[in-house]
Subunit: 219 residues, 2 copies
């Protein structure tokens, strides 16, 4: 008989197992997670302190692939002083963020239900806040702008995970709706194209407003 397995627990391993449970079932519990890892709940508590702590671990895992333009993890591809514009910085972060969450749609409502405390994730929001400050947003407007981007990205990640036929029109549908479905649903890369169009709409709106502010102030 083989020796009983004595699995080595680690925080990344716990995050991966929890993420797998959430991807499959939409939720996780400490007992289910312990069973999946073949350990007792009390061994789990040697590595994590609460369900909220595990949510933060999953958030960090999902967010770790988001590169922040101009930072060291961006590979230092740009010459010093030649960084991207504030608006391009936001665009690059938003795209990385969408790609991360589109892989874990069922994680999204769990993440939004808990305060963000994971350091990796906070760095991404921090970079967004700095880009918005560079674009002239005062502190309160900056937080609203971070939230607007956040909401649009999370909703778009859910759309990216939607079935190919998002809507199925019935006999009461108008021509305006059925024509839109016929023209739009089959477009290659539908969800991503739509996300990029919405992102540009938001960023262009902010850029136009920043331009107006600048000319009003005569600078």
């Amino acid at each position: 008989m083989a020796r009983p397995r004595t699995p080595k627990l680690s925080r990344p391993g716990i995050a991966a197992a929890a993420l797998d449970l959430v991807d499959r079932t939409g939720e996780f519990t400490i007992p289910a997670l312990a069973a999946a890892l073949r350990v007792s709940p009390s061994s789990l508590y040697n590595h994590v302190c609460s369900k909220a702590d595990i949510v933060e671990l999953m958030r960090g895992t999902a967010m770790s692939a988001v590169a922040i333009p101009g930072s060291e993890d961006d590979g230092g591809a740009r010459a010093p002083g030649k960084g991207p514009s504030w608006s391009d910085t936001l665009r690059e972060i938003a795209i990385g963020y969408l790609d991360s969450y589109a892989r874990h749609p069922r994680l999204i409502p769990l993440l939004t239900a808990y305060t963000v405390r994971d350091a990796t994730t906070l760095r991404v929001y921090d970079a967004m806040a700095r880009a918005l400050a560079a674009g002239g947003f005062d502190p309160a407007a900056r937080l609203r702008a971070v939230t607007i981007l956040d909401s649009f990205i999370l909703g778009s990640a859910l759309d990216a995970a939607a079935p190919a036929v998002v809507w199925e029109a019935d006999e009461a549908a108008s021509d305006e709706f059925t024509q839109a479905l016929a023209a739009g649903l089959d477009e290659p890369d539908r969800a991503r194209r739509t996300f990029l169009e919405g992102l540009d709409l938001i960023l262009d709106g902010w850029a136009a407003r920043a331009e107006t502010d600048r000319s009003t102030l005569g600078v």
Copy 2:
């Protein structure tokens, strides 16, 4: 001893019980739903045909509170021919839609995982498609615009259900980020104000584009 309860099953009753399960646990199964309703799974199948069918029932329940401006369920408050602009129609629908889903954040990823077939919900998207057609959007652009609004509304509904402290900055946070948190998180009605600002940003961007198209075409 009291007579054993013989509960009367109905589709609205099934939808309400499923919604309650999803609100509490993030998911529902046919056996759990049957247990909550104190019936056997096979009695449940006399009223619904599948899990997808129950998702559509929940969608319809959540969506039934969304009024469509200018339609009969809007109370006929407006004089004929004096309907709201296409942009105001979209704004009113979006606000009703946000309010409905902010009450059921955990339902959101279930809804986006299934094709929309519920008639009540299709009427809402149909009204959005008609408003966008009136605003000059061609069929493919119309579907992208519906999707952009949809994603922003669903993400904002998740934000509306978030804890009061959405982000908790750590010692590595920049001034730009900590000032934004200090100025913005405590704002009364934070989530709703932010949603309305983002909604106007999107709608104003579209209105400006429609205006440019009009002047380019010389109409």
